[in-house]
Amino acid sequence: MDLLIAVTLFALAVFLGVELITKVPPTLHTPLMSGSNAISGITIVGALVAAGADHSTFTAVLGFAAVTLAMINVVGGFLVTHRMLGMFGPKRRRGDSAEDRAASSAEGAGDR
């Protein structure tokens, strides 16, 4: 890839990122951060190539360590974001039945 094309991609993607993120409300900043954090694990792509290139044992070990770290980032990041977003679901507000109330407070106690 031509260097200038790579730089163009970089600049456009930064602008796009700014546009996308400026609209995120503060309520969602933490899930946004852990979700985008998982996306930064995209280094996994380079790690896979390094681990599988069969160049030398040393570079393969470096690749293996990179795959491990990136995969922790990717799997952990997406999973924990999913877990958090589950808590942001629309809540049953006033008028919810006594059963719902009891069930939800029991869950709450368990979580702690």
Binding site: M33, S34, N37, G46, G63, V67, G76
Partner: protein, 458 residues
């Protein structure tokens, strides 16, 4: 890299973009995260089918190990510890980029396929990635409060020397590309720099650091993308880098501090200004749970302003119960959330959401401030500097100009707090001595539970 691989990467880049877009609304956020994960899966599968991959044993071992560790961490973490976990993940992402850059650089040196561009990009990836790695580990230790170290005298001189050394090693990596020693020296000096930059920062400044490290982990991926000539790494890394930068800026504005001030003149001191005795002497009124319950019983609109102290006291569920009790009586209950109420951007919202408080009830600072005058009772729980009216009135105060929640404008303010001790800024808070304020001293959770009980008996 063949055309199919390139097209697959395009598909995952598009999914990342759509995913981030959907993360901006609570209703679509779960789907957005799934889009992101799908994009990642496509990227991994496409790479595994690429011709450049010859052996799979190291890959499978890494994938299995990483998946297991990541899943355990994600499932086990407490919501209060979310900042630590995100810091750790940021660090791992940065560390992976360092290793990728090192492997590519060494391979290119061995095969004599190195170019100045590859070497320079590898230098940048090693620098940014290693700073992110050690910086994140320090942030992790600080957030866990297992690490108290905040540096030593003359540290800034060492930092400047470190930056100079990094530039020298970067130049040597390009000029003498056949020698793998340079990249390891670069990694070593960057690792030290990461520790030096993050270690003096603490307490209320942590949200800025986490956001900045988030951005750096994306930038490290971008640099690795330039090493590997890989468009997907460049695009995805830039998106994350931009996102982290915006959050960094939002956090700085919320504290009225510049990024440079956070990094290089940490911990504003409470020196000067009125002493705690002058502010509080004879003016602080203490109250009881029963009296607070009477006030709440008569109130039509109640605002609750939580700070990190709420999380420390594990009072989220107790507060939820109090809010529900009040709502059952027909009282309107809202929560006023300051942007830096937690230890990372949006942290307080997550803590309250975990306690099943609906996000419609969580009101941002700019939206809730005009409504305090119509609020009968405001309960401040575990917050201090973010409700200190001195930020509006005293231009010499260390928090002068910081946007605050104007709780002092509500009818009555009940401050639940263990003592009159100052917050992170180290200054007394005239709110505690105001005519319309009263202090309910005690542990946050126990105090809220007592108020709820007293309310039941009315």
């Amino acid at each position: 890299m063949d055309d199919w691989t390139t097209l697959g990467y395009l598909a995952s880049a598009v999914l990342f973009i759509l995913g981030l877009k959907r993360l901006s609304r609570p209703r679509t956020a779960v789907r957005g995260n799934q889009f992101g994960a799908t994009g990642m899966l496509i990227a991994i599968v496409v790479t595994l089918t690429d011709n450049a991959i010859l052996g799979f044993e190291w890959i499978i071992a890494g994938l299995v190990l990483g998946t297991a560790v990541g899943a355990v961490l994600a499932v086990r973490v407490q919501m209060t510890a979310m900042p630590e976990l995100v810091a750790l993940f940021n660090g791992f992402g940065g560390g992976a980029s360092v290793l990728v850059a090192a492997a590519s650089y060494i391979e290119a040196a061995d095969l004599a396929t190195d170019t100045p561009r590859l070497s320079a990009a590898a230098g940048l990836a090693a620098l940014i990635g290693a700073v992110t790695f050690t910086g994140s580990l320090i942030a992790f230790g600080k957030l866990q409060e297992t690490l108290k170290w905040s540096g030593f005298k003359g540290m800034q001189v060492v930092s400047v020397a470190g930056v100079a050394a990094a530039v020298v090693f970067g130049v040597l990596m390009v000029a003498d590309a056949g020698n793998p020693l340079w990249i390891w020296l670069m990694v070593a000096v960057a690792a030290v720099l990461g520790m030096l930059v993050v270690s003096p920062i603490g307490g209320a400044d942590m949200p800025v650091v986490i956001a900045l490290l988030n951005s750096l982990s994306g930038m490290a991926a971008v640099a690795a993308g330039f090493v590997l000539d890989n468009s997907l790494l460049i695009i995805a890394g830039s998106l994350v880098g931009a996102s982290g930068l915006i959050l960094t800026q939002i956090m700085c504005v919320a504290m009225n501090r510049s990024l440079l001030a956070v990094m290089f003149s940490p911990a504003p001191s409470g020196a000067g200004g009125p002493s705690a005795d002058d502010v509080y002497a004879g003016k602080v009124r203490s109250t009881s749970p029963d009296d607070v319950a009477m006030l709440l019983e008569a109130a039509e609109r109640v605002a609750i302003v939580p700070g990190y102290g709420l999380a420390v006291a594990q009072a989220q569920h107790a507060v939820r119960d109090l809010a529900r009790r009040l709502e059952d009586r027909g009282t309107q209950v809202v929560f006023g959330i300051h942007p830096v109420a937690g230890r990372m951007p949006g942290h307080m919202n997550v803590l309250l959401a975990e306690a099943e408080i609906g996000y419609e009830q969580l009101i941002e600072m700019d939206d809730i401030n005009p409504t305090f005058e119509q609020t009968d009772v405001t309960i401040v729980l575990g917050a201090n500097d973010v409700v200190n009216p001195i930020a509006r009135t005293d231009p010499d105060s260390p928090i002068a100009g910081m946007p605050i929640l104007d709780v002092d404008k509500s009818g009555v303010v009940v401050v639940i707090k263990r003592s009159l001790s100052p917050g992170f800024a180290g200054i007394p808070n005239p709110l505690f001595a105001a005519d319309n304020s009263m202090m309910l001293f005690g542990d946050g959770r126990e105090a809220v539970v007592s108020v709820t009980k007293a309310l039941q008996q009315i």
